[in-house]
């Protein structure tokens, strides 16, 4: 498995501002992912965070709105930019260590945009 921490655990933000969420893993991992989970809903992949290169975004998600960094094999950030109430959600970081490995999830960041 993997020990994953996320900061902040929750936040309340004003419309139009930006929030950066951090994801830290206890050891090096091959793949890091960012998901969004609306209340009572399933998980939707936002992007794959690639170490040393630009993130790979899923349909419906763009870099200008959700810029992602991955400076090394244990850390990644997701920024939610120019927030609106529709961005209120749980944002989850997940990791995979390598071939034939599953995904392990962090505790999530609960975001409320007013």
């Amino acid at each position: 498995s993997a020990v994953i921490s996320q900061k902040p655990s929750r936040d309340i933000c004003q419309r139009g501002t930006s929030l950066t969420i951090q994801c830290q893993v206890d050891s090096q991992v091959t793949m890091m992912f960012w998901y969004r989970q609306q209340p009572g809903q399933s998980l939707t992949l936002i992007a794959t965070a690639n170490q040393g290169s630009e993130a790979t975004y899923e349909s419906g998600f763009v870099i200008d709105k959700f810029p992602i960094s991955r400076p090394n094999l244990t850390f990644s950030t997701l920024t939610v930019s120019n927030m609106s109430p529709e961005d209120s959600s749980i944002y989850l970081c997940s990791v995979s260590r390598g071939p034939q490995e599953t995904q392990y999830f962090g505790p999530g960041t609960r975001l409320l945009v007013l």
Binding site: T30, F33, Q41, T48, S96, G98, P99, T102, P107, G108
Partner: protein
């Protein structure tokens, strides 16, 4: 088809009973089928997983049954306990590096004491 269908949406079981959650998929390229358990306010946690070369996998009270020809798999929770009350997500994926996960919509399980 990248969808994974999951049923029921919610499930209420008496303590000691058997909880059964079913999932179905279309994409025959899927080769890994995990189940995640999520408690309120927590991230999803891997519960049990199976690959299509076996038809059943058991870990404690949790069993996955896999039917490759029907493209279906299910989670059985034996002797269900109130502590099992959570949301369960099935998923399916392909590829070697943990990517390409597709999640089902989830089942909210309530186990009554």
């Amino acid at each position: 088809q990248q969808q994974v269908k999951q049923s029921p949406q919610s499930l209420i079981v008496q303590k000691g009973g058997i909880s059964i959650i079913n999932c179905a998929y279309e994409n025959t390229a899927f080769d890994y089928f995990p189940w995640y358990q999520q408690f309120p306010g927590k991230g999803p946690a891997l519960l049990i997983a199976i690959r299509p070369d076996v038809s059943e996998k058991k870990e404690g009270r949790f069993t996955i049954s896999f039917n490759k020809s029907a493209k279906q798999f299910s989670l059985h929770i034996m002797d269900s306990q109130p502590g099992d009350s959570a949301t369960y997500f099935c998923a399916a994926s392909w590829g070697n590096y943990g990517q390409n996960f597709v999640f089902g919509p989830g089942t909210r399980l309530s186990v009554l004491p």
